[in-house]
Structures are given as C-alpha cells and as structure tokens.
C-alpha cells in the first residue's frame, strides 16, 4: 500500500565528502566517456564535495585534453558552480518577477534578518548560505525558495520562522 509509481522526493541537509584527489579522480573517470563531459563532471564533483576546488581544474583539463584556462572558464561562467565550500544549509530564494509580484523583495529582507546573513553570502559561522535564484517554475505559488534542496512554495514569514528554527536546532527544513 505504499504510494507507488514515483519517487519520494529526496531531500536532506547535504552531507559532503572531504576533498580528496583520489575520489575526485574517480568521479572524473566515471563521467569522462560522455559527449561534452565538462558540465557533467563539474556537477558530479560539486555533488560530491559541495564545491569544485581549484585543484580539480588541472585534473579535469588533463582528463578531457583541454587547457586549464578552458576548464576554469567553464567553472566560472555558470552561476551554479562554487569554488568555495557552502554553508551547512543553503537557502536559494527566488528573485524573479513572479515572486516579486507577491512581495518577494520584502520577504528577502526578512530572510536576511532572520537568518543573519546577506543575500549572496555565507554566515561567518558557516551555518547558512543565502543566494538568489531566478525562477523555480513555482511562479503560480510564489514566493518560492529552495531550502536544503527542498522546494518551498507560498513562502511567508511563518515558513521563514520555521526554517530559521530548524537551522538553529541543527535540523534540515522538512525533516519534521
């Protein structure tokens, strides 16, 4: 009688591995056979380590027979890829038009206050990273956010309070 036919959306506070060249080499070799492998490799590395540290650049370059500059160029072009470790929690708040039309800006200010972190940065204690995102496709249930990988629609102050409480207790939002 389990709900069937589908996945249960998998969400949790991200747990990343510590950087190791061996592990990175493994991740790279698992993906290098793909056509145009650079993006899949960068995604896979970021999924493993939470970010793509600089030592990965020459490794990718060598594996794909590219110049370091090319790999570096790709890594820095895309907004998603990080070169530094994110906070233990990551909140991405939608900043696009539909979310603005229902008070997204004021809400963003409230999130900054509540979580004690400015948009686009990580709190000094490493607890939380807050970033803008441009549309999650939840525009009919705006405002929206992605909190530790969990989609949140109809975001309001109560939900933000709940999120802040979860973080303060070391829990991931939606674990409850």
């Amino acid at each position: 009688m389990r709900p069937h036919g589908f996945w249960e959306s998998e969400t949790s506070m991200a747990v990343y591995e510590d950087w190791s060249t061996e592990r990175a080499a493994q991740v790279i070799s698992e993906n290098r056979h793909l056509e145009g492998a650079t993006m899949p490799i960068l995604h896979a590395l970021q999924e493993t380590f939470g970010f793509v540290p600089d030592p990965a650049v020459p490794m990718i370059a060598e594996s794909l027979n590219l110049s370091r500059a090319e790999v570096y160029g790709v890594l820095t072009f895309y907004h998603d890829f990080r070169r530094e470790a994110p906070g233990r929690h990551v909140v991405k708040l939608c900043a696009a038009e539909a979310c603005q039309s229902v008070g997204g800006k004021a809400l963003a200010q409230y999130v900054e206050e509540k979580l004690g972190v400015d948009m686009g940065s990580t709190s000094p204690d490493g607890r939380v990273t807050l970033e803008p995102i441009y549309c999650l496709g939840l525009c009919a249930c705006a405002p929206s956010a992605l909190v530790d990988g969990q989609l949140v629609g109809r975001l309001d102050r109560d939900a933000i309070d709940e999120i802040a409480d979860c973080f303060a207790n070391g829990k991931s939002f939606g674990d409850a």
Binding site: M1, G5, H43, L136
Partner: protein
C-alpha cells in the same frame, strides 16, 4: 472488491506546497484504519491554487479535495473521502471544474490524469499512437505532417517546426542530433517542467518521432538545475522506455534506432538561447554563436541538429496521432493549434491553461485567472518572460496570437503571464530587467554587456530625479542601441520590458503621463 485509487500529485508545485507530507499522512491514516487503498502519485492537473489536490476515484468520476494540508487528512478520512463524501475542501468532480473544462488540452491531455512513470497508463491514454503512425508514414511524410499542422516553435521565436525539420533532414551528415531545449528560464513559465514531471513519455515519444523524421539517432534534453524533480522523473522515464524497447535499437520493430540522455544546465539564463545551449552541451561556456551557420546545418558538435523547445516536441505525438489538419484547425491567423498559457504572479487562480490561440489577454487575467491574489486592481501583465513587455490594462483586448502581440510591441514568448497589482512600481521592474540582463549577459557583445549596466545606473538616476529629461533620453537611446547592436535576444529584447514600462507607466518614473491619445 477493487481497492480505491487515490491520487496525490507529485509535481514540483504540489511538493513545494506540502504534497509529500500529505501523502505520508494519508498513508498513515489509511493504515491506522486498516484500509487498503492504492495511492498513486500523479502529476498536477495544472490547477496550482488547489495544490495539493487529492483526487479519489469513485463511480461518479474523480472527486477532488484541495488545497489539502497534512492536518486536514484526519478530518477528510473521517468525512469519508474514499467514497467521495462532501467536505469544505471538496471541489467536486475535477473534470467539471470550469478552469479545466474551458481548456482545449492537446499537448497536456494526460497531465494529472496518469501516473507519470506508468507506460501502461501512458498507452491507455493514447500514448505511442503518434510514433506508430510516424513509422507507417515514414520520415518525409512525418515531416510534412508537422509542416501541415502549422506548429510554430513554442520556445519564443515561433519558427515553423516542420520547416526546421525539413532543413535538418536535407542536410548531408553521418550523424544528426535532436536537442530538446528544456531550459525554461522565464519567470512565469512552467509548461516544460510540467510535461517532464507529469507526462515524461510524451516528450520521449516526441523526440523519437523527431529522430525518425530527420534521421537522428541521438537526443539530448538540456534541463535547468532549478528543476531537480523534473530531472529525476525524466531519467527514470528514459530508463523505463529503454527497458520496454521504446528507446534503443529497432524501436517497435521498425528498424529505427534512437536513444536519449538528460543533461543539466548550471544556472545560466543565456543557455536557453539555442546556440549557447549547444556550446554548453559541448562542455563550454554558454557563449552565443553567430548565425549562420544555423544549428540545422551545423549544430551540436558541428552536426545538423534539430533544436526545439520542449513543448514543441511534446506536441508532435498528438499531431501525428490525430493528423496535421486536425491540429491546425485550432487557433487564429498564423498562430495555429493550442498554447499552454501559464498564468502566474499576483493572481487568484494561477496555473496552466491550454487553449487555442486567439483568446483575449483580459479574459485570461480576469475570467480565467480571477484577477489578483491580493484583491487589488490589476496594474500590468508581463508577457513572455524577463525579455517581454509589460502590458497595461487598456491593452487587455489583445488576442493571444504571435502577430497581435508583436503589433503591440510585445511578445508571447514561451506563454508565461505574470500579473502585477497596483502596488507594483514599474520603474523598479524596468530597472530589474536591466539588472537581469547584466547578470545573465554572456559577455560577447558590448551593447548587452556594458549597456545593461549603464541602463541600471541611468534608471537609478531617473528615479532619483537627477537630470530626468536627459537621462530619459539617454535611456531610450541606450535601448535603441541594445536592440540594434546585440547578437542575441537577451540584449536585443531587454528594451521591451524597459520601454513598455516607461511608455505605459511614465508616472512611476516621475514623468507626467502622456495624453491618452498619444499613449497608443
């Protein structure tokens, strides 16, 4: 006795509004009562204001309850929803809800009805009839069927899909590709996402037909990282199709080979532009390529490539199934068939509304969408995403049609509408459009890269009242330069939201409104 079937949607909107918790609560509630029921995680019907919308299959049809909170479950079970009992959250027979009833669902016929990952469900609702017919027709007749349908690319530019396919089919090559543009970066749009999450086999079938039509054996879907659930569903669906012999070699005994893969973007809006997307797929920075050569001649890895929007490709199965003529009989003028219009923003009944072209904008906002969620007067609608114009209420008689919108200096784009109430500040929105362009510019051309940053500064000065007339003249000039001097529509179309805001809402910029006669 057959155990009752209950549906709890599992698309991103429903999940974002708590559907997973609702499903868990329902499961526990049934277990506690010793009731055996079949909980199916379907897609959404696209009536997003009702999500999570539980549906129960009864003798009368599917009865809906929504929007359901986890805390409502006990009460609902107590009331007897398994028998379709009445309850304050009951919305009656879902098929009879006017929002659904008024639609013409061709591309989205199955969404919300079926279990997205059940091939049995898919086939029971007409799935794979299109491919079977395409196999019978053969490649060139399949292309001509799409030409006849009048289908124009739903990604924004509105280029005829059949003509694009003809070009690719005719280009000499040892390898051709089908690329599905599922980057859907526009605010206010979610049609691509909904297909991937609620009816993924429809896209797989559409891409397979495209492969057959032009002689391509490999397809890629480039989807955004902002759509994590869509990616998971698509990967599972591709796997299932492969297991069932619907992807791979000798599909349906036709001798045809076609396989496909998912690829994920990385948060760059410009990668929705087709050539930037191809660069990204090749593993490079998403810099826009100059055209020619067209992707149809030299696309992915320099091979002839069909690059189509997701909705364009997902519309192909129904065209092949019912015929090009059937499809083209919907619509008006040169805008043929149906369009999934996505109603979002400050709106009471936000969701997906598929209908034939030609419906007036105001009808969509007021009659279908129910006006603003805030209950305040509507001020403007931005149509066609961040590069689209803001339309004021006095233009609400504009029919939803490519040419009619163009005549108002506006775009249909990907069919998204974002509604704003009278608290919106259009000077602020104009500034945001420039900021967005600056943030997302690929950097290849100066008008877009530098112009957008100067645009933000200039609008700031206008708002601050600093040499207002001169700065307004400068802004208009800048827009003109961006329009004419940009390589792609990111820089080239940003003037649409900016100038429409300025022309229709001058008072927000601190400028006296023009006389009504001069405003048109």
């Amino acid at each position: 006795m057959k155990s009752p079937r209950i549906f709890v949607p599992n698309d991103a909107t429903a999940v974002a509004c708590g559907a997973d918790r609702v499903a868990r609560k329902l499961e526990a509630g049934l277990l506690a009562r010793g009731i055996t029921a079949d909980i199916t995680r379907n897609g959404s019907r696209g009536l997003f204001w009702l999500e999570p919308l539980i549906e129960v299959e009864t003798e009368r049809g599917r009865i809906g309850y929504g929007p359901v909170k986890p805390s409502d479950i006990e009460d609902l079970l107590h009331a007897g929803i398994l028998h379709g009992a009445d309850h304050p959250l009951c919305v009656g027979l879902v098929d009879e809800i006017p929002y659904l009833k008024k639609q013409t669902r061709l591309t989205f016929a199955r969404i919300g009805i079926i279990d997205p990952l059940s091939l049995t469900d898919y086939k029971a609702h007409g799935g794979y009839r299109g491919l079977e017919r395409a196999i019978t027709l053969g490649p060139s007749a399949t292309v001509e069927e799409v030409v006849e349908s009048g289908l124009r690319g739903r990604g924004g530019a509105g280029f005829p899909t059949g003509i694009k396919w003809r070009t690719v089919a005719a280009a000499p090559a040892d390898q051709r590709y089908i690329v599905c543009n599922a980057d859907e970066g526009d605010s206010g749009t979610f049609a691509d996402r909904l297909i991937m999450e609620a009816d993924p086999f429809c896209l797989i079938e559409g891409m397979t037909i495209a492969g057959l039509a032009v002689g391509a054996t490999k397809g890629y879907v480039y989807s955004r990282s902002e759509y994590p659930l869509a990616f998971v569903v698509m990967e599972k669906a591709i796997e299932k199709a492969r297991e069932a012999g619907l992807l791979g070699d000798n599909i349906l005994g036709s001798g045809l080979s076609f396989d496909m893969e998912m690829r994920m973007g990385a948060g760059a809006y410009v990668c929705g532009e087709e050539t930037a997307l191809l660069e990204s797929l090749e593993g490079k920075r998403g810099l826009v390529r100059a055209k020619p050569p067209l992707p149809a001649h030299k696309g992915l890895f320099q091979k002839p490539t069909v690059i189509n929007n997701l909705v364009s490709l997902a519309t192909v199965p129904v065209i092949l199934d019912k015929g090009g003529k059937y499809y083209r009989d919907f619509g008006m003028g040169r805008s043929r068939g149906t369009m999934p219009i996505q109603i979002a923003g400050n709106i009471k009944f936000g969701g997906l509304f598929e209908t034939a072209f030609g419906i007036p904008l105001g009808e969509l906002v007021y009659d279908i969408g129910g006006g603003t969620a805030s209950g305040r007067p509507v001020k403007a609608v931005q149509a066609g995403g961040p590069l689209g114009a803001y339309l004021p209420t006095h233009q609400f008689d504009t029919p939803f049609d490519y040419e009619a919108f163009a005549a108002k200096d506006a775009l249909i784009g990907h069919g998204g509408l974002v509604v704003f109430d009278d608290t919106a500040d259009l000077a602020d929105m104009a500034k945001f459009a420039m900021e967005f362009c600056a943030h997302e510019s690929c950097g290849k051309c100066t008008p877009c890269r530098i112009g957008s940053t100067r645009g933000v500064e200039t609008i700031d000065k206008v708002i601050a009242g600093e040499k207002r007339e001169q700065n307004l003249a400068l802004l208009t000039d800048l827009c003109h330069t961006m329009k004419l001097g940009s390589l792609c529509a990111l820089g080239g179309f940003t003037p649409y939201p900016v100038l429409s805001a300025l022309n229709h809402f001058p008072e927000d910029f601190g400028v006296a409104p023009k006389l009504p006669a001069a405003a048109e």
